[in-house]
């Protein structure tokens, strides 16, 4: 039982990182109806931004500490938000009126571009992520070995989710986002500047991916330019599992994937781990293609 709880906690920590990435997929899909394949690579850029800025921050603030970790995360989120806006402006906006497949292929192109430019600029070899968060094991809870990093991951995720919820539900721009996902034409007719809202959505999603990148790198400290591919795909699966376009669904899907994956690698075999997410995806799409919390869309001629 203790082991099971332990795996469950590990799974929740991994799952909340996936949930943060999945939110970016689901927000962009909700508004533009297309899969931003390059999102996993923004996650990678977030980790690398942290890698290059952490030593600078360490000169100014005592490191490792919670404060320095949060400052690094904030910088990385700001950088990735800007990158997200630039990607949308240069690659996706000119294609907005074209078929969705054109955008999907462009997104694959952007993803490859970020990966290979990353290999060219950062080098292909894995780099050790500096320790920015303090680590102290907590072994009080009935033999469970909780790691402070996991608590930080859960705490930061919870905070970001609440912040996102506030932005989407309580602010004017959040209302504009929701109206755009409901009906883009009508939203534009009501005087909503769709370009600004879409840029904002990309910025928000990319910032969350950057936060996930920092949290991921703090927990699994070897980073390389291709690190975004698998978490990106799994987060996408999480978004589909929860019902793409649905924010709570993305979080739920992320947690389910994270926990299942950890349990499978803990109890069955770790080599099958990477196939689990796709297995779940295929099952869910065969049984309920709209996802767990998604609404069924009716096709109109």
């Amino acid at each position: 039982m203790t082991e099971f709880l332990q795996q469950l906690i590990n799974g929740l920590a991994l799952g909340s990182i996936l949930a943060l990435i999945a939110l970016g997929y689901t927000m962009v899909y909700g508004i533009l109806r297309f899969i931003n394949f390059a999102h996993g690579d923004v996650f990678m850029l977030g980790a690398f931004a942290g890698f290059y800025f952490a030593p600078e921050i360490a000169k100014m603030l005592p490191t490792p500490s919670i404060l320095s970790g949060l400052v690094v995360m904030g910088i990385s989120m700001a950088i990735c938000a800007a990158i997200g806006i630039v990607i949308e402006r240069l690659a996706y906006r000119p294609l907005r009126s074209r078929p969705k497949l054109t955008m999907l292929i462009t997104a694959i192109g952007v993803s490859l571009f970020l990966e290979y430019t990353g290999q060219f600029v950062f080098g292909a070899a894995p780099k050790r992520f500096p320790q920015i968060l303090p680590v102290f094991p907590i072994t009080k809870l009935g033999g469970l070995s909780l790691n402070s990093n996991q608590l930080i991951v859960l705490g930061v995720t919870l905070f970001l989710l609440l912040a996102l919820r506030f932005i989407v539900l309580k602010t004017k721009i959040g209302m504009a986002m929701r109206s755009l996902s409901f009906n883009p034409e009508a939203a534009a007719l009501m005087g909503i500047n769709t370009d600004v809202v879409i840029s904002f959505t990309f910025a928000l999603g990319s910032a969350l991916a950057a936060a996930a990148g920092i949290l991921f790198a703090a927990n699994y400290p070897a980073i390389d330019p291709l690190m975004g591919i698998l978490p990106g795909l799994k987060a996408f699966v999480a978004a589909v599992l929860g019902g793409i376009g649905n924010l709570s669904g993305a979080v739920l899907g992320g947690l389910i994937i994270g926990v299942t994956e950890t349990l499978v690698s803990g109890y069955i075999s770790s080599t099958y781990r990477d196939a689990i997410a796709f297995g779940i995806l295929i099952l869910i799409l065969l049984i309920k293609p709209s996802g767990l919390l998604g609404k069924k869309e009716i096709e109109k001629v």
């Binding site: 297309f34 899969i35 690659a91 000119p94 294609l95 074209r98 078929p99 969705k100 497949l101 054109t102 999907l104 292929i105 462009t106 694959i108 192109g109 952007v110 993803s111 490859l112 571009f113 990966e115 290979y116 430019t117 290999q119 060219f120 591919i229 795909l233 996408f236 699966v237 589909v240 075999s269 080599t271 099958y272 990477d274 196939a275 997410a277 796709f278 297995g279 995806l281 295929i282 799409l285 065969l286 293609p289 096709e299 001629v301």
Partner: protein
């Protein structure tokens, strides 16, 4: 392509391949391997063109079918030792067909979810299938797992590669241009309208996957016996993307364009690799002004893809609006 002369094309191509294969010992082995790669990529691109281009079902897992064919044929031929010329080629053909059939079964399994899924959902599911095939191969000790599998016999030659490429082109071109085959294009152009006209869209979609996967399996067999070493990671997501790029670059549903794109995209990395090679030669190290380009090979490739989508989404080689034009 002029379809009245399709049979002439096929026979001519086969005869030409046979003639060249008689002299293939004269060809430098580096160029021979590149030419095999060209032939294999043509088979892959043309077969993917049936699924992505003609039927409009966006598949991102074509390398997975190739892997099934490659491993199946390799396992079969590895059972045999040295054989005489006729036995070897006979076994090779059987192995290739077996690989194709198994890949076709995999294609059937992937084709079934297409009954319910469309567009990007389908893309991600085919991607998932490709990855699952890779993970299964990685965990099967019988075929070497992650260590890879060596293939005993270098049986792929010029005749088989280009002969089978010609057969693939012939079969898919005649299939799509037959009365039956118009259904593929109808499914792509407007699925709802096609269904309303009484076309069994499900059957067409699954057929496209099965036929496409069959030829991808054969290409896998050719690849296995040309390279003689297989690893599951050689058939990953990136490889599938490479085939998709060939189809897009050539123009979805443009047979000649896709073949040209497959040839071009096989040669382009080689050319850039040669530039990269210059960098490593002593003496001329920094002297060649384009030497640094070698390291940016894949960056150029991805930029090409983005620019192509922004400027010519109909493909590089589509010049006129044919009657098979995609809707948009």
């Amino acid at each position: 392509m002029n379809f009245r002369h399709a049979k002439t094309f096929l026979l001519g191509a086969l005869a030409l391949c046979f003639l060249i294969s008689l002299f293939q010992n004269q060809i430098n082995s580096y160029w021979l391997i590149i030419s095999y790669n060209i032939g294999i990529n043509v088979v892959m691109a043309v077969s993917l063109n049936l699924i992505n281009g003609y039927t409009g079902q966006f598949s991102l897992g074509h390398a997975g079918f190739m892997a099934v064919g490659a491993y199946t044929s390799a396992v079969i031929t590895n059972q045999f030792d040295q054989l005489n010329f006729f036995a070897a080629n006979g076994i090779f053909l059987v192995a290739l067909l077996a690989g194709g059939l198994l890949a076709a079964i995999a294609g059937l399994l992937v084709g079934l979810p297409t009954l319910r899924l469309k567009g990007d959902y389908l893309a991600i599911v085919t991607l998932g299938f490709g990855e699952i095939i890779r993970v299964i191969l990685q965990n099967t000790d019988f075929v070497g797992g992650a260590r890879g599998l060596s293939v005993k016999h270098p049986w792929t030659n010029f005749f088989w590669t280009f002969g089978l490429a010609a057969v693939t082109i012939y079969v898919i071109a005649t299939l799509v241009n037959s009365t039956y085959g118009r259904g593929f294009i109808a499914v792509r152009d407007d699925e709802i309208a096609a269904e309303a006209m009484g076309i069994n869209t499900t059957k067409y979609k699954v057929t496209a996957f099965v036929v496409g996967a069959f030829f991808a399996g054969i290409a896998g067999g050719l690849y296995a016996h040309a390279i003689q070493f297989l690893t599951p990671n050689g058939f990953g997501f990136m490889q599938s993307i490479a085939f998709v790029v060939m189809v897009i670059l050539g123009g979805m549903g443009n047979a000649v364009g896709v073949i040209l794109a497959a040839v071009l995209l096989t040669l382009l990395p080689e050319g850039l690799r040669m530039l990269a090679g210059i960098e490593h030669l002593p003496g001329i190290a920094k002297a060649h002004p384009l030497g640094w380009l070698g390291g940016t090979r894949m960056i150029i490739y991805s930029l090409l893809l983005i620019l192509l989508m922004l400027t010519r989404p109909q493909g590089l080689f589509t010049f006129r609006n044919s009657k098979l034009k995609t809707k948009n």
